[in-house]
């Protein structure tokens, strides 16, 4: 029975990695290693670029200034609006950490996106959630901020029966989960896609159906790898612009 030899791996086999030092909080596995690299490498690059401040940027400095101006013009300005400057560093941190963590999806010998485990996006989303609530409370005053969220201006008085519960639930309950799940599900779907094509290529090779099916699966694997590089960067962009929009909504609750 040739067909039954094709076993797609279960979800545990493609996202769970063994711990090195045991099962406690000190256990260190591939995901933790990727998270560590994704935090340290951008920090080092920015540190190196910050030491040499030329007027006309070249090399590393040009690269990092490109990232900064991209986040400033495409994320912070449209998302937050006026007064975006103090919140630029946190958005750049989100963008770089998520982009590097996601790109490990296609880097050989790792090939596991950091955000395909729920932990990393959930922590990032909770950071963004606490951050925008604190910004809103600091900028508008705690009571005033909650009043502005619960009772948006320009709504007829009778509609508050409907609008207030919806606004409160969507802002304070659903928002962090949808923010985290958007990143998590995209990366997990991409990872499963690449694993499926990889398994299919190997299966077709070992079943010696090469001439018939390899022409479909192997170019598919290459095309989807390129596609996933794009998805990784777009998801980093989407996560940081949503964080920017939430911060902007807390800063100027009128609109």
């Amino acid at each position: 029975m040739i067909l039954s030899q094709i076993h797609f791996p279960t979800i545990k086999n493609i996202v769970v990695w063994p711990n090195i030092f045991g099962d406690g909080w000190y256990g260190f596995n591939k995901i933790a290693l990727i998270a560590f690299i994704a935090a340290v490498v951008p920090a080092l690059i920015f540190f190196i670029a910050g030491r040499q401040s030329r007027l006309v940027p070249r090399g590393v400095q040009g690269f990092t200034e490109g990232i900064v101006s991209f986040v400033e013009n495409q994320v912070a300005k449209p998302g937050i609006g006026t007064g975006y400057e103090p919140y630029l560093p946190v958005l750049i941190s989100f963008f770089c950490f998520i982009a590097v963590g996601n790109l490990f999806e296609v880097i050989p010998f790792f090939q596991m996106p950091l955000n395909a485990r729920m932990g990393a996006p959930l922590v990032l989303a909770i950071i963004a959630y606490l951050f925008f609530i604190m910004v809103g409370m600091k900028h508008n005053g705690p009571a005033n901020y909650f009043k502005m969220v619960a009772f948006p201006q320009g709504v007829p008085k009778a509609m508050y029966i409907l609008v207030t519960p919806i606004e409160l639930i969507s802002t304070f309950l659903v928002r962090p989960f949808s923010h985290a799940i958007r990143l998590f599900a995209n990366m997990l779907a991409g990872h499963i896609l690449l694993v499926s094509f990889g398994v299919l290529c190997i299966a077709v090779w070992t079943l010696q159906l090469v001439a018939v099916l390899e022409v479909l699966t192997f170019p598919g694997l290459i095309v989807f790898t390129a596609f996933e590089i794009g998805v990784s960067l777009i998801q980093a962009f989407v996560f940081s612009i949503l964080a920017a929009v939430y911060i902007g909504g807390a800063l100027h609750p009128a609109h």
Binding site: P78, R182, F184, V238, L242
Partner: protein, 101 residues
């Protein structure tokens, strides 16, 4: 090439065997879960599919009318795609939970 025909025959046999054989309770449960998972993702993808198509179409139209505002339109377009896509991704998460958890 004969190998390929053999595989195709086996696929047909597999389809015939599974449709008529009796299943144990556990097998029936996992089969139901798999059916539900497929239905969940398929149904969840309909609305966002229409929504994203409409959204990107309108964005293309806006850029075609005013090419100088392309950057702004693209940013807002990605924002809208992110909100619309969330529904399909919830369907995908339900799929994962039914199928694997």
């Amino acid at each position: 090439m004969s190998n390929f025909i053999e595989v195709a025959q086996q696929a047909v046999e597999l389809a015939q065997n599974t449709s008529e054989s009796g299943l144990t309770a556990a097998e029936q449960k996992s089969a139901d879960a798999a059916t539900g998972a497929g239905m969940a993702y398929g149904l969840a993808a309909i609305g966002p599919g229409i929504g994203i198509g409409y959204l990107v179409g309108q964005a293309v139209q806006a850029i075609a009318r005013q090419p100088e505002s392309a950057g702004q339109v693209q940013t807002v377009m990605f924002l809208g795609i992110a909100f619309t896509e969330a529904l399909a991704l919830l369907g995908f998460v339900v799929f994962i939970m039914l199928k694997f958890v």
